[in-house]
């Protein structure tokens, strides 16, 4: 089992947002979570990532058997967890190359692996950037500074490619993408994460990303719980009928 979440409860600013969420993801699977605004989708991703302010008040979450909730955010990253951010953050004055090399090497050190040399890292970065159709020049610019919405999302995928996680939680990675970028990002997710020893949790509002990354399971999150689970056809039904209809059905 890759990720196992049992009865997860989490608060933000004293308000209970996740109210006993259960979810199991096995290696090799791609899951999608859909749901109306305010259902708790981003809270789920932040609570699993360990963001301060997202307080877990009950339940458990394990990644490959390790207690995620007991770890610091950077330890969760080293354990193989990657969050793709809905709003990637700007860090002025630090290039993507420098940022990712430090991040990757600090993960590698935490896992007892040798850090990559500058040359090896650049080779890796060039390969992954190529996969996502991103110009290396972009990676030499400051992290997300001056990037368009689409470029930021594409850069998130390059981060994922370079850091090579075992579980990626991608929070509305499809928002802000035009159709060409959506295709590239979809192809990137498949190329990087579609593997027997990896898994993906896609958080999305729309069916359209799922046209390019076909999920094995689709879950509907409403009011802090998963209320329905199905195959790809559930997303199609949602797109056609809306949340209210499908949740009520």
């Amino acid at each position: 089992m890759m990720l196992e979440i049992e009865n997860l409860q989490a608060e933000v600013g004293g308000n209970l947002i996740l109210k006993g969420l259960n979810l199991t993801i096995n290696a090799g699977e791609i899951h999608a979570i859909m749901g109306p605004n305010g259902a708790g989708k981003s809270t789920l991703s932040y609570a699993l990532g360990g963001r301060p302010g997202y307080e877990v008040t009950g339940g458990s979450a394990t990644l490959l058997g390790k207690d995620l909730l007991a770890m610091e955010p950077h330890e969760r990253a080293a354990a193989g967890l990657f969050l793709g951010f809905q709003y990637p953050v700007e860090i002025p004055g630090i290039s993507n190359v420098q940022f990712l090399r430090e991040a990757l090497n600090s993960q590698r050190r935490a896992r007892g692996e040798e850090p990559l040399s500058a040359a090896d890292f650049l080779r890796l970065a060039r390969e992954k950037a190529g996969l996502l159709g991103m110009d290396m020049e972009m990676l030499k610019r400051s992290v997300n500074v001056g990037f368009s919405g689409g470029e930021k999302k594409r850069a998130e995928m390059v981060h994922m490619g370079i850091l090579d996680p075992t579980l990626a939680i991608l929070d509305e990675t499809d928002s802000g993408l035009d159709i060409d970028a959506l295709k590239t990002v979809g192809a990137g997710i498949n190329a990087i994460m579609r593997a027997p020893d990896k898994a993906v949790l896609l958080i999305t509002h729309y069916q359209r990303l799922l046209d390019y990354v076909e999920p094995d399971f689709v879950h509907i999150l409403a009011d802090g719980r998963i209320v329905r689970t199905g195959g790809p056809e559930l997303a199609v039904a949602l797109e056609r009928e809306g949340y209210a209809e499908v949740i009520a059905a």
Partner: protein, 491 residues
């Protein structure tokens, strides 16, 4: 990049550093002047240095003037009055001050510099850095210069690189011509004190048309207890010459405050350029604010010649209190003054630092980039003056002051003074204050960085415009220092 050995050693020292790696004390037999300050102290120092009569007279004049002055109180600094009688004004290792060769250097001093990662052995530098840039070093230990490297090679190029004590004896005319001309002895309280009791420092003379073949550097180390360090640096760049000079400082951890009151004078003649870089890492005191260096420094450059240029770059991470305004007096037509500064304060540190750009000549230009980073309960103030004199036709200044706050108990202040007496002059000032955002921290941590590394990275990004002005090897040291000096400030 071929890193010189100094770099590798310094990096290793930095890597090992936890709190203040340089806080060790070296056990060296030392000779002190009697405690306290009076005319006899001044005479003692002058005699120790074998100084000519004119120098002693100059010192005594400064001392008598200092007695009539009052300690300045306009800076945003909270400090108890200093008892000038409760300190030593001269401490020297008990060896002869001038050495025939480096082999005669007290092994303990040699070890001290080795620990600090500073290359005072030429052959070692030469052996390890083939093809890489070499740096000539003047090492000042408490009150005396203990080693000056690469002297011969520099002299072949016509460059004079000496301790100031030696220069006073060997090149009295040059010293007499410029000493106190950029910073007059009556300039301010600490400058007057320095004139009276300065013990050593560095003298650099670059002759006309010479590009100094290597970077010059001085490492200042305060070791002795209860001792003030009053160093004096004088750099003269003749017409069309060029020099890059680096200054680094450390001191042991001690419970009491130690005074460091330096004066640095730079002179740039026609078409000459001086680049002066400082990484100041004096002991800042402990987390409760006990001990630390009082760093009261007067640094000023005279851009006397046409098209001359002086660039100050400073990374200030140490000292309990910093009071320092490296300035440029732009007399020559088309002369350029630059000031790039990163000042970090943590715990109980206080810094009041900035610059003065005095535009006297036509079409003079200046740029000021100041980055203040405050954490803990510290306070950082940028204080700067831009003056456009009546004759400064077409002069321009651009100033950017940014402050970054870590936590909610520290303070950042910006105090710009602008005086414009020429209607064609243009002065621009931009200022921002921001906090390290939780978004940035979490983003970096989610990618795998621990809190300290994330803070260090974000802070280095904030300071990048200044750090990129530093010579490469210095920049690497400075980056590490920024991270170390902010350890424990978040989370």
């Amino acid at each position: 990049m071929n890193a010189p050995v100094k770099n590798a050693e310094a990096l290793e020292a930095v890597r090992k550093a936890s709190d203040y790696e340089w806080g060790f004390v070296s056990d060296i037999e030392q000779e002190f002047a009697p405690k306290g300050l009076n005319e006899d102290t001044v005479r003692f120092i002058s005699a120790k240095k074998d100084e000519p009569e004119w120098m002693l007279d100059w010192r005594l004049k400064a001392y008598r003037h200092w007695l009539t002055m009052e300690s300045p109180d306009w800076a945003k600094l909270d400090m108890a009055p200093i008892d000038y009688q409760d300190a030593y004004y001269y401490a020297a290792p008990k060896e002869k001050a001038t050495l025939g060769s480096l082999d005669e250097l007290d092994p303990e001093i040699r070890r001290t510099y080795e620990k600090l990662g500073i290359p005072i052995e030429e052959q070692k530098v030469l052996a390890n850095v083939e093809g890489a840039r070499r740096v000539a070093v003047d090492a000042v230990f408490d009150s005396v210069s203990v080693a000056t490297t690469f002297r011969k090679e520099l002299e072949e190029a016509g460059v004079i690189f000496r301790s100031i004590s030696e220069a006073i004896r060997e090149f009295p005319d040059l010293v007499k011509k410029w000493l106190g001309k950029v910073v007059p002895m009556h300039d301010n309280y600490f400058a007057a004190l320095n004139c009276a009791v300065f013990s050593d420092g560095t003298f650099v003379y670059i002759p006309e048309g010479v590009r100094c073949p290597m970077e010059l550097s001085t490492y200042f180390r305060i070791n002795a207890e209860n001792t003030g360090q009053f160093e004096r640096t004088l750099i003269i760049a003749e017409k069309g010459s060029h020099v890059s000079y680096l200054e680094g400082c450390t001191a042991p951890m001690r419970d009491e405050n130690q005074l460091h009151a330096a004066v640095v004078e730079l002179v740039a003649l026609d078409d000459a350029e001086i680049k002066y870089s400082t990484v100041q890492n004096w002991y800042p005191g402990d987390a409760e604010g006990k001990g630390g260096i009082y760093n009261f420094v007067t640094k000023r450059a005279l851009c006397q010649g046409r098209n001359s240029k002086v660039s100050w770059t400073q990374v200030e991470t140490g000292s309990a209190i910093t009071w320092k305004y490296p300035s440029c007096v732009l007399n020559g037509e088309n002369s350029v003054g630059e000031f790039y500064s990163v000042a970090v304060t943590n715990n109980h540190q206080q810094a009041d630092t900035g610059t003065k750009m005095i535009h006297n000549g036509k079409n003079t230009r200046s740029i000021i980039i100041s980055k203040g980073i405050s954490a803990g309960v510290s306070s950082g103030t940028y204080r700067g003056l831009v003056r456009m004199a009546a004759n400064a036709e077409g002069a321009r200044n651009f100033t950017q002051c940014d402050s970054l706050l870590l936590g909610d108990r520290c303070g950042a202040h910006t105090v710009p003074y602008i005086e414009v007496r020429n209607p064609s002059a243009i002065v621009e000032h931009e200022a921002t204050t921001s906090k390290i955002s939780d978004d940035q921290l979490f983003y970096a941590m989610q990618r795998g960085l621990d809190t300290e590394s994330a803070v260090s990275l974000i802070v280095n990004g904030f300071a990048k415009d200044v750090l990129k002005q530093l010579p490469m090897e210095f920049a690497v040291e400075a980056q590490k220092l920024l991270g170390i000096s902010l350890e424990g400030s978040v989370g």
